[in-house]
């Protein structure tokens, strides 16, 4: 086991391989607050990558309803339980923020790698889901959590902020193209690799022998076994699009399909530059801004220890203990900043799903004040700023103002479609 630095945990941790980082890292921000669970993302992925024989059960992208839903069933509850059994009572954070290298404080519990180290039989703690658990991928869709201990009851004061008493939310999930992937560490064949150019994690279809150690040890259960190929397959991060080889953009890197099709405009995916093993400071990259500067978007179950690269703006109505377990101690700060957004955050949030091209940099042109009010008991101003997104080549890819332009149809076209 080598020692690697995991900034999400604010400390070093054990990993099978020494630190080795890509030049760029595939990353995305999902704004849970906006998702309508239309599953367009899910079908975009399905119709691009997993429509063939042997892939019937595969959903590289899925959207599940929390707290009960999960694909495979209860994947996160099961892993949290395994970790708790390995280190009873010890899975805690010292959430005192300590600068940019420890933005969520220090995790004092055990990661999946550390929890497996003692027994030494496996590189990471995990389990192989049963066949049944892979079925009914959207089981518990829209099923809300009611009052504690009461079955089939809604809370009498269900939906009063800041925390709803009757609640659910949608969790959008793809492979996290982790910095320290569980799947890579698990593979005895060294058949899984992280691409140096974009950090996308791929299974070498020639080397894989179908042992399913990655299926067992990916904590997010995003590596899947294809029975008629007798090997595992996983989300490929739409790498041809990210490379820019899709003819549509003529060589310019594009977002993955699940991102570019998102109806709710909840997703923004890009590439962040890596320097000395961490995100290079680059506040004009919208992902850097959202995750590292404004810290409104948080990793999913950072305590697993893989340093996942999909970041979530937590749902603002959900009881905080649940969210802290899922996204770590950064939850309160993230919700506070999201519900009372700064002028810059308001502008950057417009960039979601505005272009198929990956936005590498943004600029803001200031506009006049259009709103001066109070939200959640706090003063709130809105300016009609314009945010401009630039592609890899530095060309303008998108331009949006905060106030949506209003067009009035001329008399002549009143009834035309």
């Amino acid at each position: 086991m080598a020692k690697v630095y995991n900034w999400q945990l604010g400390r070093e941790m054990d990993y099978r391989f020494p630190e080795a980082h890509p030049q760029w890292q595939f990353a995305a921000v999902f704004n849970i607050n906006r998702c309508i669970a239309c599953q367009t993302c899910t079908m975009a992925c399905k119709s691009t990558w997993t429509f063939s024989r042997g892939q019937e059960f595969m959903w590289w992208n899925n959207v599940e309803t929390k707290p009960y839903g999960g694909y495979p069933h209860h994947w996160d509850v099961k892993l949290l339980q395994l970790l708790e059994e390995a280190n009873p009572g010890g899975q805690v954070w010292n959430g005192a923020q300590q600068g940019d290298r420890q933005p969520y404080g220090i995790y004092q519990g055990q990661t999946i790698f550390e929890a497996a180290a003692e027994a030494g039989n496996e590189t990471a703690l995990g389990y192989l889901p049963t066949e049944q658990e892979w079925t009914a991928p959207n089981l518990y869709e829209d099923t809300a959590k009611g009052p504690q201990g009461a079955r089939n009851k809604l809370h009498s004061e269900g939906t009063r902020l800041p925390e709803h008493n009757t609640w659910f939310f949608y969790l959008q999930r793809i492979c996290n193209h982790c910095t320290y992937p569980g799947c890579v560490a698990a593979c005895p064949r060294n058949a899984i690799y992280k691409r140096p150019e974009d950090g996308i994690v791929l299974i070498d279809q020639e080397r894989c022998r179908g042992y399913r150690k990655c299926v067992e040890q990916c904590p997010y259960k995003k590596s899947m076994y294809r029975p008629n190929m007798r090997v595992s397959e996983k989300c490929v991060g739409c790498y041809p699009r990210v490379e820019g080889s899709d003819p549509l953009t003529k060589g310019i890197p594009m977002e993955a399909r699940c991102m570019a099709t998102c109806v709710g405009k909840i997703r923004m995916q890009g590439l962040v530059r890596i320097e000395d093993g961490d995100w290079a400071e680059d506040a004009s990259n919208p992902l850097y801004y959202l995750v590292r500067k404004e810290r409104v978007a948080l990793p999913l179950y950072p305590q697993f220890g893989t340093e996942p690269n999909i970041y979530y703006i937590p749902p603002r109505w959900v009881p905080r203990p649940y969210l802290r377990q899922m996204f770590g101690p950064g939850v309160d700060e993230a919700i506070d900043r999201y519900t009372n957004p700064s002028r810059e955050l308001q502008a950057v949030l417009q960039l979601f799903r505005a272009s198929q091209k990956i936005i590498f940099r943004y600029e803001i042109e200031e506009g006049e004040k259009v709103l001066d009010t109070e939200i959640n008991g706090r003063p709130f101003q809105m300016y009609n700023d314009t945010v401009i997104g630039f592609d890899k080549e530095g060309n303008e890819a998108v331009r949006l103002s905060l106030e949506e332009p209003f067009h009035v149809r001329s008399e002549q076209y009143q009834n035309s479609i």
Binding site: R53, L128, C208, Y225, P227
Partner: protein, 328 residues
């Protein structure tokens, strides 16, 4: 009762024990049964003048080969670790052209399929140094300076050959799918398209011929030159491997009057055993002998039974005789 009589009794007992030991050792030598306890076990492949069928590990010709028992234990060197204590019985023959290795081991269930998410196949393997010599490679997957040649038989591959490639509709006969777009296009079956042998639907062997030079380096050899057939009967597998004695220097070498090493591994699919989760033996010596394998190897057991019974009877007689003399 005097000291002299005591001495006489003791003397007869000692004589009995010595005689017993002698008889047992003569018996074992006669039957050529070797006791398995360490790396000094030798598996001898004698020359068979009778055909050794490739598809029948229960063929009578195997009665001519002397069985050797090898203890296996859990692989506990590198993750994923697992497996457990087992014993396999091995035999070997050759016919001047091919080498045949027979393995037998207990397994409660016949696990043939890998079609479901958590389903694993039974398997077994033999391993040889690529270059026989003094430098015996590490018994687990060899080492970079002395690579190993591994023949891994998989029950699932044999099922593919016997039943035709087991695809999803075989595993899930009631499944219903409206349409598979681009069904005939190879790139939508990536592992098959890049030539991964696991995904091939036209197998010619159930045995994977592999090379390794340490953990994690196991690689399929370009030449699939090993054949094998396993038969599961009454709670145990019997499996025969066969390969030409001489297939070139890239793989393990065998020749009459020469010795090399052999190690065994077994996987139980029902217990989720695959890859490093396996039971493994140490290296044994494998000797390819010019001697002809005579019929009667199969009477080994009877020789042992007769020898042991004879020895017990003799000891009893001697002891009784001693007591009579003591009493008289």
């Amino acid at each position: 009762m005097g000291g002299g009589e005591l001495r006489i009794t003791a003397g007869w007992t000692v004589a009995g024990i010595i005689a017993l030991a002698l008889i047992v050792s003569v018996g074992l030598t006669l039957s050529d049964m070797r006791l398995a306890s360490s790396q000094t076990i030798t598996l001898v492949a004698k020359r068979s003048e009778v055909e050794v069928p490739l598809d029948d590990p229960f063929a009578r010709v195997w009665n001519r080969a002397n069985p050797v028992e090898a203890p296996l234990s859990a692989q506990n060197i590198t993750p994923p670790k697992g497996g457990g204590d087992r014993t396999i019985t091995a035999r070997a023959l050759h016919d001047g052209e091919r080498l045949y290795i027979l393995m037998e081991w207990d397994d409660d269930s016949e696990d043939l399929l890998v079609s479901r998410q958590a389903e694993f196949s039974d398997a077994a393997a033999v391993q040889f140094p690529v270059a026989p010599g003094e430098n015996v490679p590490a018994f687990c997957m060899g080492d970079p300076t002395s690579p190993v040649n591994i023949w891994q038989w998989k029950a699932a591959w044999q099922a593919d050959m016997e039943q035709g490639f087991v695809d999803v509709q075989d595993a899930y006969p009631d499944m219903q799918v409206d349409l598979y777009p681009f069904e005939e296009e190879a790139e939508f079956y990536p592992a098959r398209a890049v030539g991964n042998v696991f995904a091939q639907d036209d197998r010619t062997t159930a045995v994977d011929n592999l090379l390794a030079g340490s953990f994690g380096t196991l690689t399929q050899a370009p030449d699939q030159v090993v054949q094998g057939t396993g038969v599961w009967r009454d709670g145990s597998w019997r499996l025969v491997f066969a390969r030409d004695l001489n297939v070139g220097e890239d793989y393990s070498q065998f020749a009459e009057e020469e010795s090399t090493n052999i190690a065994f591994a077994v996987w139980d699919g029902a217990r989720g055993e695959r890859d490093g989760i396996k039971s493994v033996s140490q290296f044994l010596t494998l000797e390819v002998s010019p001697d002809v394998a005579e019929p009667g190897g199969g009477v080994t057991v009877w020789i042992i039974v007769v020898v042991v019974l004879g020895a017990v009877a003799l000891t009893l007689v001697l002891a009784l005789y001693g007591r009579q003399r003591q009493n008289g």
